[in-house]
Symmetry: C2
Subunit: 508 residues, 2 copies
């Protein structure tokens, strides 16, 4: 690492420092557990799956696009067989990095080639906090999670719905979510990928929010999209529609197979990796068939079932290896790739922390380009946890700090202070210490390093209880960004109109 | 990784699997954050510290040995100046691996050159568990920790005292500890390094336990010794005596500076690394002066003070970097090196878990040769925690599993099962799954992956509460190894005699 990047080193941790925006980059080489021969075997096997078994693609338009791109389609069976050579031709058209931007063009988020982005949890139906327990998520909860996301510039992309707003009508709540993203932050946001209309409305709202044409949005993308196959080997109709719509506009998209080894994938990491590779490359081929050169992010989510209960496990050694191996496959194809910060704990406890750490270290050492579910995921993704969100911000802060190693220079070594202190002294008051003690080390958000007596005097709060307090403080301190009121009004009008149209269409 | 080692892959986790002894090895290249120029700068600076500032060596015999080895000694000031070239000549005599063995010669523990060993916590005055809270440790606690250590073959070396037996007389309790090590397990054990007599008695007891002469113990070492300098730049008299005594017998020893950046070392990781390197190499020079070629392990323990309170922090990003950088320095000198699994939390909670993970990943990616305090450390080392011990066994199990990556072979991929299941099916009942579901994945000790309802029905226990239960079960299941009763009797007689002698000498 060169001196310039050392000088630019920015410390993370503490609420204030979480707000400091910076480009996130890896400082070291990745850990690469598979040999070149093993990578080749996974590749060849994935190609065999695509050619010989193929995928069920449940959307007619998607099948038609793939047929036009040269793939064999069994229309009555909704089945597509993917010629390996043609898949690889298409995959080669995808760029090795993807970018998105919010309203501030200086804060461009780069994914791939050593750059990474972190995002908050997406999708849980339930929400929990220590005070109120576990319950269905509401729009207020969703808004709270978005406010927390807005306040940490480690999280550079808003949303992924955070938690479902189950108190709002199912068919229109995506509009409330989009409007919240546009109102609460100036960061780029993740719209939904389910169905043509959810994509079209996101694009219309982006045109209003950015004040740009579709061509401008396409030329310099704004959305990061994340969606899933139905592993094994099925692409759902609504998801295919969303993928096609965003691909038309060249927005970065990742389609992630849920390669749950022992359940939806073979009971081996190797088998899950093959299936994952086959499915995400098929979706890459679809995206490239729609718009050659559109950014596509290899979707990785290998985990394994607990073979006693069938429940998915996350943050296991297999998960860590799966992340590192997925990184190798993505680099083999020249694609950015997506990983996650996940765990299977039912409480925001020690298990949640160590499983998250196993996920994060897997993704970091595998050099993921984007971390989905970076903050707030609990209980295998069924719950968005307020306390876990804060604990995750701490863990993300530490992981980011690990990628900005301290300077090793004569000035930092401080030989004069070592000489001055000599044998048996201490460094508390030296000039060298006084110059740097405020910023020398990571400043934590939740971690308490005080001695037992002081900790006890303050109520013996564990890390989860302290996280609850930090969370309340952050929500109380939230302030909206300066946004053009006319734009927000236009967005509100758009949302109101679309809601009327959707309700009217339903009532026909 | 070759197929043979893949086939030998042994799964960790669960009480049964914790008992499966295996050689611990790294599977990947280390993470090396410093450039060759930075390593050189640290080295040159450490040499300057040794030459120009030197160390206070508080033991006359040690100074005399160092004088005979060619170093300049200021006797009235108890000060030794270390010529850099001579230090490097001596360091070059130390081997790049160290081994220890217990009663079973097949279970040889190797440290260095890609091999590593894990040990339990050493030294805390306090002990804690959820039921009884925090209190001074007793001999019963120490025995319990040793029984837990005996039961996990991830921990291949007994002791380090675990917790202090404060209910026994301070001057003779080391004898009770040695006897407990000899009675509770057949693994090698860590005697104390404080004072000549504690070393001599350990050696006498080893002669009885192994049934060997000193020459035999020296030819094939049995003890792993860990001790400390008084940073900055002081070597305590009693510690020097212990070091010399064990060095005479060629037993592997690590002397670890407590390089607390901002307190006992400069307020920078770079400065702490220089001071640590200087001190541990000075002790290596002492060991090599006593017995050229004796195994010596570079001692690393860089951490930083919380600059608001002065308390030490552990498992921070600086700690992780410090571990990786220490690994680079040790490899630069061709020495094995020691790291730790540490945290500064006051409770066995999420903070304890994520800080431990930061320590463990630093040590693992830096490829430490031996992990001190691998299980049970809490509250910056003031407390041995029963629950943390168990949580650590889980984390160690996962870390070890990460170093034994799953096989990527055609058999593991299971193309036939992917074909058989096809789009939209599941893999629960396939032959491929049935063949491997019992052993395919890491089996946890504490982690609970069941769904929320089942977890709630069982009492909504968090990971720490479940660890308490696992701990009780393990202690209840403890069985002593088959040991020769005559040997144990001889050891008991020895301990009784030595206690009488020590008390008589005190009463003179």
């Amino acid at each position: 690492m060169n001196d310039t990047s050392r000088r630019r080193r920015q410390r993370t941790g503490s609420v204030a420092v979480q707000r400091r925006w910076r480009k996130l980059r890896y400082a070291f080489a990745p850990i690469e557990p598979m040999s070149p021969n093993e990578i080749e075997l996974v590749h060849r096997s994935a190609m065999s799956v695509l050619e010989e078994i193929g995928m069920r693609i449940q959307d007619g338009q998607a099948r038609s696009i793939l047929r036009d791109a040269g793939f064999r389609v069994d229309e009555p069976a909704e089945h597509v067989f993917f010629d390996a050579e043609r898949v690889m031709e298409l995959v080669a058209k995808a760029p090795s990095i993807a970018t998105v931007r919010g309203l501030d063009p200086a804060k461009r988020v780069v994914m791939g080639k050593g750059h990474f982005a972190l995002t908050a949890v997406g999708g849980p139906p339930f929400v929990s906090d220590l005070e109120n327990g576990r319950r269905y998520g509401t729009f207020e909860d969703q808004t709270n999670f978005l406010k927390l996301t807005a306040q940490s510039d480690l999280l550079q992309i808003m949303g992924g719905t955070c938690v479902e707003a189950s108190d709002l009508p199912a068919e229109t709540r995506y509009l409330d979510y989009y409007l919240a993203c546009c109102s609460l932050s100036d960061k780029p946001w993740k719209p939904l990928t389910i169905g043509h209309h959810r994509a079209r409305d996101a694009i219309e709202m982006a045109k209003l929010w950015y004040g740009e044409t579709e061509d401008q949005l396409a030329a310099d993308p704004v959305f990061f999209l994340n969606t899933n196959t139905n592993t094994p080997l099925v692409l759902d109709r609504d998801i295919a529609q969303g993928v096609i719509e965003y691909a038309r506009l060249g927005q970065p998209i990742t389609v992630t197979p849920f390669a749950l080894a022992g359940a939806m994938a073979p009971a081996s990491v190797a088998g899950a990796l093959v299936l994952q590779t086959a499915e995400t490359l098929a979706c890459c081929a679809l995206v490239q068939s729609v718009r050659p050169g559109a950014p596509y992010i290899y979707g990785a989510f290998i985990c394994n079932a607990d073979m006693r209960t069938g429940s998915p496990a996350f943050g296991t050694p297999e998960y860590t290896f799966g992340a590192q191996a997925s990184g190798q496959m993505a680099r083999f194809y020249g694609l950015p790739w997506r990983s996650s910060n996940v765990n299977a704990s039912n409480a925001p406890d020690a298990q949640a922390a160590y499983e998250s750490m196993m996920s994060l270290w897997g993704a970091m050492t595998g050099q993921a380009s984007v971390f989905n579910h970076g903050a707030g995921w609990l209980e295998g993704g069924l719950v968005g946890s307020y306390e876990k969100f804060i604990l995750d911000l701490e863990m993300l802060g530490m992981m980011v700090a690990c990628q900005t190693p301290p300077a090793i220079t004569e000035a930092e070594i401080g030989m004069e202070s070592i000489r001055e202190v000599g044998p048996g002294g201490h460094f508390f008051g030296t000039g060298h210490t006084m110059e740097r003690y405020k910023t020398a080390f990571y400043a934590p958000l939740v971690s308490d390093w005080s001695n037992f007596e002081n900790w006890q005097d303050r109520g013996s709060l564990n890390a989860t209880q302290r996280a609850a307090k930090v969370c309340k403080d952050m929500l109380a301190a939230y302030e909206p960004p300066p946004l053009d009121p006319a734009k927000i009004e236009a967005l509100e009008d758009f949302v109101a109109r679309r809601k009327r149209e959707i309700v009217a269409a339903r009532d026909l």
